[in-house]
Amino acid sequence: MNHLEPIHFVAAEDSAQVDNILEVRDLNVAFRTAQGHVHAVRDVSFSLRRGETLALVGETSSGKSVTCLGLLGLTPPAPYCTISGSARLAARNGKTYELVGTPERVMRQVRGGVASVIFQEPMTSLNPVHTVGAQICESLRIHLGMKGRAATDRAAELLNQVGISDPKRRLTNYPHELSGGMRQRVMIAMAIACEPSLLIADEPTTALDVTIQAQILELLQKLQSDNRMAMIYITHNLGTVAEIADRVMVMYAGRIVEKADVVELFTRPQHPYSRGLIHSVPRLHSGRVRKTPLFAIPGNVPDPAAHPPGCTFGPRCGHFEPGRCDAAVPDLESARPGHLVRCVRWPEIEGAA
């Protein structure tokens, strides 16, 4: 990717952790709406290593999708949405991009080239009036400058990689001629077309049949290990997290409430919310799609425009203690090395459990 000219790149050695592909510090995303300012993401910090998979878990409107969209600048433009903080992304060629506040022109090089996204709805995420081939080739042309025969061959190769048989013929198909699973494979092929260093998978299996879900997850895992990509896997389904993730980050009302290795989190969840989530999954390896996996946690996600004081989970928490929990937003504390939790009462709760 020598033809790129990263403007906001930082020399690799300046980075504290050389191995990290992605370094996010104090990311904030706010929307301007008719009801006032809505802080969708607050003070999110995390990092990601090459080949690592980070699962982002949370309920609807917990801010997990917005975090990722914000990183790539796919949120609405400036007056409607403001992003602050810092996010540094390293490309495969060693260049590092600052993603926050970067001009659109540079961000366009990042999107699809250094970081790609797979969206939830394969049915609607492909343009119905263009062939599958044209849509894959578009990425190749933009980022790699590939044209004509070369691009088509590469696209076919990609389709082959994502497990689509007879790829040459499939290239001439329109999206509506493919099944849901096939379409998601096409989406994946498009995402990995330019060998990005970061792949964001935003609930990639939610809209698919159960049998297909497993295949897609397998494919993602295989591609990730083949290409040594870092991956952010967004889901509300803890079942799949255990299968695919290395580390897990639980978000609630725009904040990270707990961050830990996958085994650590599942075996020793610290935050009451995480515990609730885990307890609400009847069997860990359940293949069933649960539309409402949070039936065990009472109440609803708070109105993003009017958060309760202190801990935002407070009103729904079984361990809520007036005066302490609603005094101030708790800090993210280190419960163990590599295990962070945002709860003032975590030691007591752990003891009680």
Binding site: F31, A34, Q35, T60, T75, Q120
Partner: protein, 295 residues
């Protein structure tokens, strides 16, 4: 929560749906609200106005012909026979608005009946009725209006009938579609299984559920009817003098474009303003009521 929905947070929607969501939505539609004010004003102006001003719409005074507006006792000037333009505008407003309302009422009546029967019975009856509707829609509206206009003597009543004849088809289509889908819903089937008569099911069970789109169509129809009246007048088949209407005021003003342009400007503005208002109201109603239907 997908990003699309998050993005649409920027759009004013949601969270208002409390007691009268449709009404609230309508009240928030500013152009529609403004339109409503204009329509109320025009109606008051036309129906109550003549009591306020000292002139009559039909009194001729040939010596005071073609007086310019804002220059004397006649605020909007006088026409070629010396009649007060303001008074004529008011009386004409009565006719034009009445024509608009009456033609709409009639067209809605025909449209609802045809649509109801066609949608309820479907089969041969429905097919024949709806093909008839389709056939009527094949005529470009002005062509149809003129062809029928040739049939009748131009009076207020006949213009009302004429406009209704040329504009009931849209209503019929809307109602037919609604009824056909509503008929499959549980409550209609339930009513049927309870032994309710056809007429009862049609008017008591189905029709009330199709009111929203009818109201929208009717509002837009009023705008259309007022505009149609002016077109027919312009083409020489409208309400004829001495009964004033906005349309024939405009038509008569044609010969005086150069020496008395206000004769054309005044009714033209009245028509445009009123029709725009009705269109905006219709728009607002559609936004307000459609949302409810979608839920």
């Amino acid at each position: 929560m997908s990003a699309t929905q998050t993005v649409s947070l920027a759009v004013p929607r949601r969270s208002l749906a409390q007691r009268y969501p449709a009404l609230r939505r309508f009240l928030r539609h500013k152009p529609a609200l403004l339109g409503l004010c204009v329509v109320v004003f025009m109606t008051l102006f036309s129906f109550a106005g003549p009591w306020v001003i000292p002139f009559n719409a039909t009194d001729t005074d040939i010596r005071a012909r073609l007086m310019e507006p804002f220059a004397g006792a006649h605020v909007l000037g006088t026409d070629p026979l010396g009649r007060d333009v303001l008074a004529r505008l008011m009386y004409a407003g009565r006719i034009s608005l009445s024509v608009g309302f009456a033609a709409t009422a009639l067209s809605v009546l025909i449209g609802v009946l045809v649509g109801l029967v066609a949608g309820f019975y479907r089969g041969a009856v429905g097919a024949v009725l709806m093909r008839f509707v389709d056939a009527m829609l094949c005529f470009p509206s002005i062509f149809l209006l003129l062809a029928i206009a040739a049939l009748i003597e131009p009076s207020v009543t006949s213009i009302v009938v004429l406009i209704a004849m040329a504009s009931w088809m849209e209503v019929a289509r809307v109602v037919e579609g609604q009824i056909r889908s509503l008929r499959e819903r549980d409550f209609a089937l339930a009513a049927e299984s309870l032994g309710a008569g056809d007429i009862r099911i049609m008017f008591r069970e189905l029709l009330p559920n199709a009111v929203a789109p009818i109201v929208v169509a009717a509002t837009l129809n009023i705008a259309h009817a007022i505009l149609s009246e002016s077109y027919i007048s312009f083409l020489g088949y409208g309400i004829h003098p001495p009964t004033p209407s906005w349309g024939n005021m405009l038509e008569n003003a044609q010969s005086y474009l150069t020496n008395a342009p206000w004769l054309a400007i005044v009714p033209g503005v009245a028509i445009t303003l009123t029709v725009t208002s009705f269109n905006f109201i219709g728009d607002g109603l559609r936004d307000a009521l459609d949302a409810k239907l979608d839920r």
